[in-house]
């Protein structure tokens, strides 16, 4: 488990410097660049215009492209992300959620049968699978770098 974070200059110094360097470079670029005066929106209503632009309707006072298709795509992306999140959270293979042994998606049929027959091999194997740690864990910790230990 992760532990409480604390500033550790020893291992954070370099990343900090890297991030700082990026900032310095960015700042240099921004400050040396010259921009014309901003055009602004001259007080035109921004939020309604966004609404019109989003749904590809006439009436927006500020120029913009139409975003209906992008809107639809983002919709799909969100749904896909939702589905993906659910997929990732599910256990592969037997359709059980992680760490929640007893939640069933089959309306409790197999649970009934488990209670009916104690020696059901299914339940036995279920438990086994749940407690089973992925073999990757072993390799993962084997190959972890020393920095991994520091954080603990």
């Amino acid at each position: 488990m992760t532990t409480r974070p604390r500033l550790n200059l020893g291992s954070h110094l370099i990343p900090g410097l890297v991030a700082l360097a990026l900032f310095v470079v960015l700042a240099l670029v921004f400050l040396t660049a010259s921009f014309p005066a901003p055009q602004g929106f001259d007080g035109a209503p921004i939020t309604p215009s966004i609404g019109y632009a989003m749904f590809d309707l006439a009436g927006g006072q500020i120029p913009s492209e139409s975003f209906l298709i992008a809107f639809e795509i983002i919709d799909l992306v969100l749904i896909a992300a939702l589905a993906a999140a659910v997929m990732l959270a599910r256990r592969e293979g037997d359709g059980k959620l992680v760490g929640i042994e007893e939640i069933r998606t089959d309306g409790g049929h197999s649970r009934d049968s488990t209670t009916d027959a104690d020696a059901d091999p299914d339940s036995g194997s279920d438990a086994e699978v749940t407690n089973d740690t992925d073999p990757n864990t072993a390799t993962g910790s084997d190959t972890a770098t020393p920095t991994g230990e520091e954080a603990n």
């Binding site: 370099i14 990343p15 890297v18 991030a19 990026l22 470079v25 240099l28 670029v29 040396t32 920095t147």
Partner: protein, 680 residues
């Protein structure tokens, strides 16, 4: 010549390709259907080579009628932009003579094989007869080849057949090894030959032997009047030098195939093959291919005195060198093998010394008497139940009279005892070497070596005869030999007669002494296609190569060599004629060891092969594995290693990634800002 006659001659020549194609057919039959025939393909071979013999005789008769033939029959590749490659038939006195020799020996060997292979119950007979058929095909095609390319093609093919047939008994260890050695050593020679063939094409744009556009003619023109010489590309060398180089390159193949020093080492090992094969391939015909090739393109060699001198010297040296080794051998086939090398040395000596006719004459007589000796040895081996050590024989004379007398005829011919065939031909070779050698010291040395070899020849020949046939039988097998059948005796008798009388066709000393016109072979070879006859060669030798012959009676030379041969034979007789001859060669001590080990020729060649072949191969393999492939693997190792290091940036901790991202952003902003002048 009447119209009717012209048409018949044309017909004889038109069917001439069949001389080679018939054995090819027998090869196919033996290979694919041999096992279904009663004699496993032998009959097909006998029929085919018999047919070839008849056709060859017909061609010879036609050539004797003064008609010659030089046609392309099959174009392999034609290129309008460059030279063509084709197969052709060149029939002139030389090739007609050789065709008869080859097909006759081949026919007799097929017959003999019935006794040696079939009757002995050997396995793999279809393969054997297929090999013989393929060999006969290749050799005959080589003989009537009309260009150097075709010669090379069939030169290589006879090498394959030699490999197949030496390794016939492949279940044992020695024959495959000997086969490999034979092929490799000859291949080493053929390497130079191949360069030579390619270079001839590159130089002359043609490789035909005969005709006004043939390469010897072009070379001759380049040297004599320089007309066409300017157009030839001679690779930055003078024409004379370049032609000599070409001659040497082709000579490489000749030395390999005709087992001349230093590439002779394969021939004794080749005796691992069946004896009829030794007779056909490693005595009478294939080994002759090299010498025949020099004779075939003699118009080219006659242009280069250097090449000729080297040929003569190599020949003379080989003759002596091989003869000395034959003296101590125990295995009857080994003696014959070394004597073969020695005799081909004589032919080379003859060619190099300008004795074209003499060399061809010796080629002819040797083909007969050496085939006879090998077949005789084969008959002895049959009788001895495949034992070949002469010290286990003895006293076979009574049991095998036909073999004995024919073998004796062959031996007398080999030793060069008058009036057997070898006397006349070897004598003429030596005579030619002497008359030309009196003006050229190198040739004279070659002649002297050849002359000394005569003595050794007489000695080892009669040592062989006496040990094999005379005295008391030294083993049980020798007391109860297995008697050969008709199919063994028939070839022996035919060849025995030929070995006895064939020399009479060209009795130069007699002709000189009596003034009779009986040098038939001289007459035979004097004619022929223009530029391809001995007359022309003689002119070339005098005008281009600058050979000159001293005036000397052939009788003198003949008497000298006969005396030496008799001396050698007499020494052998005095040493080995008893009932229980001693092993006199043991008295030679270290010299015998040296000779038994063939002057360590095999050892040093194996050493070279191991060091420069296997050794370099191992080294380069190690180099390849460590350096070349090491570099490749090194690249991947470096990538893997550096990747392994760099990936450590990826700690897996989100905060670190975020730090890096931020740093990157800062750096990017700074870079863009500084370069873009934002901070001014």
């Amino acid at each position: 010549m009447s119209v009717a006659e012209a048409s018949t001659t044309a017909f004889a020549f038109e069917v001439a390709p069949a001389i080679a194609v018939l054995p090819l057919a027998s090869f196919v039959i033996a290979l694919f259907a041999g096992k279904y025939f009663p004699k496993k393909g032998a009959l097909a071979g006998v029929t085919a080579t018999g047919g070839s013999l008849l056709l060859s005789l017909w061609v010879m008769l036609t050539v004797a009628g003064g008609a010659y033939y030089n046609e392309e029959i099959y174009t392999l590749v034609s290129t309008p932009e460059s030279f063509d490659l084709h197969f052709g038939v060149l029939l002139d006195p030389l090739s007609a003579l050789m065709l008869v020799i080859v097909s006759l020996v081949s026919f007799l060997v097929h017959v003999f094989s019935l006794g040696y292979m079939n009757d002995e119950g050997e396995r793999g007979l279809p393969r054997y007869y297929a090999g013989l058929g393929l060999f006969s095909f290749s050799m005959l095609a080589f003989v009537f080849a009309d260009n150097l390319f075709m010669s090379f093609v069939f030169f290589e093919l006879v090498g394959l057949c030699s490999w197949l047939l030496i390794g016939h008994w492949y279940r044992e260890d020695a024959p495959p090894s000997a086969a490999k050695k034979a092929f490799l050593v000859t291949r080493f020679g053929d390497y130079f030959f191949l360069i030579g063939v390619v270079a001839v094409f590159a130089t002359f744009g043609t490789a035909t032997f005969a005709g006004s556009e043939s390469f010897p003619v072009l070379a001759e023109e380049a040297l004599t009047d320089g007309g066409a010489g300017g157009e030839l590309s001679t690779f930055g060398l003078g024409a004379q030098t370049w032609f000599t180089v070409l001659g040497f390159l082709i000579l490489g193949g000749v030395i390999g195939k005709s087992a001349q020093f230093p590439l002779h080492t394969w021939l004794p090992d080749a005796m691992e093959g069946p004896t009829p094969v030794s007779a056909l391939i490693h005595a009478a015909t294939m080994v002759a291919a090299g010498v025949y090739l020099v004779a075939r393109m003699y118009g080219f060699y006659a242009l280069s005195p250097t090449a000729l001198a080297v040929i003569a010297f190599v020949g003379g040296f080989t003759a002596l060198f091989a003869a000395s080794m034959a003296v101590v051998k125990r295995d009857v086939k080994q003696v014959l093998a070394y004597s073969t090398i020695s005799q081909y040395g004589y032919m080379m000596l003859g060619l190099g010394a300008g004795g074209y006719v003499a060399a061809v004459f010796h080629l002819m007589t040797h083909a007969f008497f050496k085939a006879l000796l090998f077949l005789g040895a084969g008959a002895v081996i049959i009788a001895m139940h495949h034992r070949q050590d002469m010290w286990e024989m003895g006293g076979l004379r009574e049991k095998l009279p036909v073999t004995y007398y024919t073998f004796l005829a062959g031996s007398l011919a080999l030793a060069g005892i008058v009036p057997f065939a070898g006397f006349w031909s070897k004598d003429e070779v030596l005579y030619e070497a002497l008359v030309h050698g009196l003006t050229d010291p190198l040739l004279l040395v070659a002649y002297l070596m050849g002359l000394i070899a005569v003595f050794f020849t007489g000695f080892y020949t009669f040592r062989m005869v006496l040990l094999t046939f005379h005295g008391e039988p030294r083993t049980h097998t020798a007391r109860n030999p297995h008697l050969p059948g008709w199919n063994v005796k028939f070839p022996l008798v035919v060849l025995g007669i030929l070995a006895t009388v064939i020399g009479l066709t060209n009795m130069t000393p007699v002709a000189e002494a009596t003034g009779l016109e009986i040098e038939f072979l001289h007459t035979w070879l004097e004619h022929g296609i223009e530029g391809l006859n001995s007359e022309h060669y003689g002119e070339l030798l005098e005008t281009v190569a600058g050979y000159s012959a001293a005036e000397l009676s052939p009788l003198l030379a003949a008497a000298l060599s006969l005396a030496l041969a008799l001396g050698g034979a007499g020494l052998a007789y005095s040493l080995y004629s008893g009932d229980r001859p001693d092993r006199h060669t043991d008295r030679l001590g270290d010299a015998r060891t040296l000779l038994m080990n063939n002057y360590y020729q095999d050892e040093y060649q194996v050493w070279i092969a191991e060091t420069f072949g296997t050794g370099v191969a191992r080294l380069s393999d190690r180099f390849d594995q460590s350096i070349v492939d090491g570099a490749v693997n090194g690249v991947s190792s470096v990538s893997l290693f550096s990747g392994g290091r760099i990936r450590r940036i990826q700690t897996g901790i989100v905060s670190n990634y975020a730090t890096l991202l931020t740093l990157g952003l800062v750096a990017l902003l700074l870079v863009v800002g500084l370069t873009g002048g934002w901070f001014l």
